[in-house]
Symmetry: C2
Subunit: 111 residues, 2 copies
Amino acid sequence: MELPVVLDCLSDPIRLAIVYHLAQHERDGTELRCGDFNELSGKSNLAYHFAKLRDSGLMQTRIAGTNRLMKLRREDLDARFPGLIDAVLKSAARDAGRLQLVAECEVADVD
Amino acid sequence: MELPVVLDCLSDPIRLAIVYHLAQHERDGTELRCGDFNELSGKSNLAYHFAKLRDSGLMQTRIAGTNRLMKLRREDLDARFPGLIDAVLKSAARDAGRLQLVAECEVADVD
């Protein structure tokens, strides 16, 4: 994980929104599915952003049946860049409305 | 100042190096001159990066004679994005060698 790559990854509003939503669900241990982000953008555009998030090291995906379940690589990130993700999420939360991070990103139950 | 814009601005290795050097001199109150960054890149490329840094709100410039003196807008940044710049600088410092932040960026005395 490289700092410029991670910062670049977070600088896109859609990827920032994805990270924001993953972070909101990390406390309860919920992984999110691709479909949980459909309000943010079109399917192929989301696939591109998911790939960027994986490649940069920000999130990981695991396959469960027909689902891809995503979560932040929080421990790795905090070890590598102490305080960075928290600071980004805190700033993002303050501007959540204007940054349109709070799309109606419904989280479906994962079977 | 908008979070995605600031993150994008910091995601470029040359701009990150400029910010890093400005931060190293903020304690002693030293402002830096354009010429202090000549080791990082060519003159016109640096001018482009300085403009991005100003436009994003990361730094400010004041004119003193024939010099442009630059410094981080640290107070504004810390008020707007608490902890963000510190976390970025801390991570940058850890990787300073690999990120080539420590070019022979000599700081000349400003008259």
